[in-house]
Symmetry: D3
Subunit: 137 residues, 6 copies
């Protein structure tokens, strides 16, 4: 039986965002999100780590064709998020308050059907050297 | 149903320690802990990664209020361990041989009741760029 | 004669910015700055490394009191830039197109008189893991 | 009951390799492995992270003697892979197409019986800052 | 007078190489280069940091157009070195023993005339996390 | 004429230290060094980067034999500082208040005569990810 491994691919995007919940008052938003609520936004060098889990193909020695995976991540995520404002520029984030938690779930919804075959195992979204989130669908 | 994610927060503390087991002879301690048994101790830039697991709050878009989490980690761990000697200066490490294994378990005992709600998922304690331990309670 | 050393202190700030030159047309700006010209801006985890050069004080063994240096950097730079939009929120960047080159020079103007004694040797401003600028006044 | 923790040890080796599957034509190999199929090979600074899972010994405060673990990793893996060509110089990789997936499985076969006691929990093999694989036996 | 700054751009390439001097005997080569003399070669994840020094253009706020710089580095260096064997595959390294010292000088000869205007200030070539070389022409 | 390059070698040591100046009162020491004055000491994962500057030997393609350099650094510095207390265990630091500034100068005095030929160009001593010192003799 072929061995099952997890393969990870890191990509990066630089984006602006602002944390703000429309159902709360400005005072509540400021208390809740503190400096992340700054009206003009701030930004991060995000790192996205896509983790694929599957059996090693006995012929190719690979779990997935890495070039095809890179193409999916680039077209579905990086082109849409890199050098953008997450609150204003991204179709699949419309109406979503861009906390790291919400963004990682939204990215999963974009990547999972495109990768298919139940291969997507986990996403890791790193916001700063001190903060990250993980999601497994 | 709200999505469940893992959120991680890295903090750091610089501390001295010495590995020594009182129930063993000096020769046994030296053989066992080697250079980590040096009588005057040595030290590390420790990194502590606190991992929280929970559902995303549909209103705030967050698993936990990060400022409150940072306050708990600072008061319960960083203030007590940063720029201290783990064998001599820390109340919750009294009588404990400060291997990375023992320290990570002791930190869990401090953090878990303070964070509550079954939210603490894992601790990662990084001693050097080559050595780390993980604990899940 | 006391030895002269260079001492470095890294700090960080997360900010949004947009590259745009008001004396150019929108087409020229887009051609010049490409994706950095995105109207709603984007953002970075900036790292600022402040480099101090001076003689070691024979009594204290230090070139400068690091706590005082940290206080100056925090009050003059970090509080003003962290979680802000560099085009809209920062008094000392008003009217300045926030390229890394322009920002590092503006930071120098803020820090140099406050540190004094000809101690500030160089600033390094890291925008991404691939891009940085250095300035020596 | 003693606490169970995971302990990790990072080591490194610099090696050359070429991805090529003998059962495929040259054209198929080029299409599949792209630049990784370059006839004269290329190379990486590999990082291997060995993860041990077990109970903390109440006397020593350790899961495993780290010096003994390092000796096993050095003799069985590092001496054989460091500054070698993975396609030509390594006994336990003979006849194996050295994709990261295949290499991490082969390293597991070398380390697991030598470490014993069901202690080996996971291997992480990092090929570049963007690519890694994980294997749990 | 416009301020003068240094701007740095990091790129990466993965390559194989072997250290061997044809004017020395096999024994001398082995003694001199040790494991780097392995007949089938080994490899590295090289990082190349290109450092540009010049005045900030008062209109653009930039020292150099970063997209043009990236294009030069890609065409002249990365395409030729990435996923190649430095002893066999690179036109501008023919007949050169690929020590880090020799490679960084050869890269300078490729980049300096293409960048022009006396802008190239320094190259940094990182071979491993512990070894690097710097060259200023 | 052979090209002149700078070659750097990173090494690491884990040590404890305490900042305290015997000519000052306990109150003055506490005010000056703050938490670094903790009586039982604290510690760091120090990184030492040794920088060699010289012409490339036309035969070997090297500035210095890296194995010989590593041996000097290991014998003169790492064996004496690694897993030690800088205030108590190191002959060449006796009577020296172990600030990063004082330690880097003391390391220079140990390395410079052993390396010889005016080859030692600069030392960089990294105490934490935020603090470092540089010395050029």
């Amino acid at each position: 039986m072929p061995a099952t491994v997890i393969l990870t691919k890191r990509t990066r995007f630089c984006a602006a965002h602002r944390l703000n919940c429309p159902s709360l008052t400005p005072e509540e938003n400021l208390r809740l999100y503190d400096k992340c609520n700054n009206e003009n936004g701030h930004g991060h060098n995000y790192q996205l780590i896509v983790k694929i889990r599957g059996e090693i193909d006995p012929v190719t020695g690979m779990v997935i064709n890495l070039n095809e995976l890179k193409k999916i991540i680039k077209e579905r995520i990086i082109v849409k998020l890199d050098h953008k404002h997450l609150n204003h520029d991204v179709d699949f984030l419309e109406g979503i308050n861009p906390t790291a938690e919400n963004v990682v779930v939204a990215i999963w919804e974009q990547l999972n059907p495109a990768i298919g075959d139940n291969l997507l195992y986990e996403l890791e979204l790193i916001e700063t050297e001190n903060n990250a989130v993980f999601y497994r669908g």
